[in-house]
Amino acid sequence: MAKLLLLDGHSLTYRAFFALPTDMATASGQVTNAVFGFTSMLINLLRDHQPERIAVAFDRPEPTFRHERVPTYKAQREEAPDILRQQLGLVRQVLEALGIPMIDAAGYEADDIIATLATQAADGGDEVIIVTGDRDTYQLVADPLVKVLYNRRGVSDYVLYDEAGIRERTGVSPAEYPEYAALRGDPSDNLPGVPGVGEKTAAKLITTHGGLDGVFANLAALTPKLRANLAEHEENARRNAEVMVLLRDVPLDVGPGDLARRPFDAETVRDLFNFLEFRTLYQRLGEVGADVGLPPAEEVATLECGVQEIASAADATALFERLAREPPERLGLVARFAGDPGRSPLTGLALATQVDPGQGAWVPATLLSGDHGASAREALVRLLGPGGPALLTHGAKALLRGLGAIGLDVGSLDLDTEVAGYLLDPAESAYRLADLLLRYVGVGLEEATSPAAEGRLDLDGAGDALPAEAARSAVAVARLAPALGQALADQGLTRLYEEVERPLIRVLARMETAGVGVDVEYLRRLNAGLVADAARLETEIHEAAGEVFLINSTLQLRAVLFDKLGLAPNKRTKTGFSTDASSLEKLRDQHPVIELLLRYREVEKLRSTYGEGLIAEVADDGRIHATFHQTVARTGRLSSDRPNLHNIPVRTEEGRRFRRAFVPAPGFELLVADYNQIELRVIAHLASDPGLVEAFETGRDIHTTTAARVFGVDDTAVTPGQRAKAKMVSYGLAYGMESYGLAQRLSIPVAEAQEILDAYFVAFPRVRAYMEATVAQARQRGYTETLMGRRRPIPELSSSNYRIRQAGSARP
């Protein structure tokens, strides 16, 4: 049994084009976003599925039988932009070079070709995976051989559907899909459905009546409105159903057996990838080289570095003094820790003494401690203090916290390559030094083979790797920093870095070191209370269920709820009926045990997260020293962990109970300050909406004023309900909520939510103008930008793809 991958070339190229910014281009100006995204997807597919056979189907410009049947078919589609059409040619060139068969047929769509080949392959007992962003292929899914890998958006957001998956997604079986879609309509093909029939209604109608014939034979059983709509649009729906069925008998010159990858000329591949400047993609072809038969990619130069291990406090002192007196061109310095960086003892420091060829020195922390380390510490204070040489490091906050723990402050921090990497691309999931060096300098950094790679103390005896690894990193930082500094300048981020992010590093490090006081006794009582609550609920659950079982075991819980108590389940997962909170919520009325279960889960979560969770984080000094994250949130906001203080509930009584545990040091009091309605003020400012600005300037209650304008009443006539709705709309805008989200929050129909939103935009027209301008700008540039120049890529690309994209524009 062979595996056949069938790709819809147009659909996937379009997805890539709209997912990636159009400023991706080669030095000669050829825009490459779509061909890059497509090639990246292709390599991922080859790597993940290792297919024996593969083909890419394309649409043709000639009209198809669908255009003949429905003159308006796809009539609304605008001509693809030139920069997309050119790239379709490049996509074909890439496929040609890689020896991947391409198929098209005049008068047929790519979908029909895929349907034909999938049917033939499955008939022959082969496995088929269809990769597309077009829902019409749902009808082709057939267990166990044919699946659809549906591209939801972008280049990496996929979901794999089998028959159960299609049923869960749509409510109908693959065979029923065309008739279901006929009722629902397909705006992307300009095929209107029946008014008032959405996905849910369509699925219900089709499954209840066994198809369109059944639906139209049983119109009398339906509500008058639905009956009228269906009757009026029957012809339309039946016509939709006709054109939505994919053809499985397109005459083709090839069959599934002919779709093995052809051999190809390595030189052609190299030339094409060179032309497209897909350097890292070329290397990734090497990764899947065994499958595509490519020669190994050109080796990337790796950073070479000598290391001098400092063995005495006197040598350490001499080194620090020499570096302070005659600083190297750039002073790279990294710290290594026994455990979590910054939270555990420092094991040593590595300094770059020479950048190229690399030379570094390793100073074990033991040389800096106690009486014998006093002079070395003083020399280090002078080296790192204000006026010292500009310090370059990776992960400055941990370094500052580690040095703070031995009484040292840093006053000369210049560039933190981790924070700079974040500002340049806040969509990454991590900013590892090796990745940044490869991306911005094009040089590899050898990973440490020992646990030192994670900055951990090596306990298994291979410890001699640590000094060399740390020294390499120090040199890597010194090599990387100028490239990042330049990139920050190029993107207009220097000021944001120097005036906000860089000074913030030290502020956060100091705050982590200070920690916050905790009333441990209170916390213990709180935790004991939760433990008792959980135990009581456990007993009550066992009584209600009539047997003792492990509540946290999904299997046992399922057996009790659905087999023993005979409750009617509402949702199936891959492994059985769902017992998650939302599923249980729906069973609430069926049995008293459900209510108890929901409360038990809530108590357990509070206990583990905030009860035991907080107690575990209390340090020897009786305080909690969280770690603040400056390089995680894509919005630019800060977050924290150990513990995560950001998810303590803000407005509930529970949240209040936990906040009571945070106390000042004896003899002090806590001051808490925050901004009042900061998001709304920011909206007023960014949009320069005179109505909003005036409301804030006069100091009136902003939500009342907003409500008065939105609902067209006098300030004094605003009801509490109107004020609440206005408030929700305002915050909804700040958090990117649309009518659907708003409807959910206000428990009102979506249409009503949309009306309120529309009224809001009429009342505050400049806010709408601002939102539209932001969207337009993001579309054009591929990112949004704040007043201070902070950028956020749109859409959110998967980290690996985005990294590769930037590698193309790496500078030496």
């Binding site: 705050m511 200070a514 630019g636 803000v650 808490v672 300050a673 900061i678 990117g736």
Partner: protein, 86 residues
């Protein structure tokens, strides 16, 4: 499309944190920053600095960024985070 809104709010808060810490250090006070969560800062303040901190914190945060609308700061004291915040 709220990135610009969230991003600017984040920037203002960060500027405020940096400015606060700088002023606390410059004034040589015993008060110190101990926590930041969402748009909230928490300081430990000795009784003799109570009034000075009211003014310093409110002024520093309100001046963090010049918008076309005033920035307003809520401030409270307490024997615990819950006490102060409610």
């Amino acid at each position: 499309m709220n990135a610009g809104i969230q991003g600017l709010a984040a920037d203002i808060f960060k500027v405020a944190l940096v400015a606060l810490d700088r002023r606390l250090e410059a004034e040589g006070v015993r008060s110190r920053l101990v926590l930041q969560v969402h748009d909230e800062v928490i300081l430990e303040v000795p009784p003799e600095e109570h009034h000075a901190m009211c003014e310093l914190v409110v002024a520093t945060m309100a001046e963090a960024c010049e918008l076309s609308v005033p920035l307003e700061v809520n401030l409270s004291f307490g024997a615990s985070w819950a006490d102060a915040k409610g």
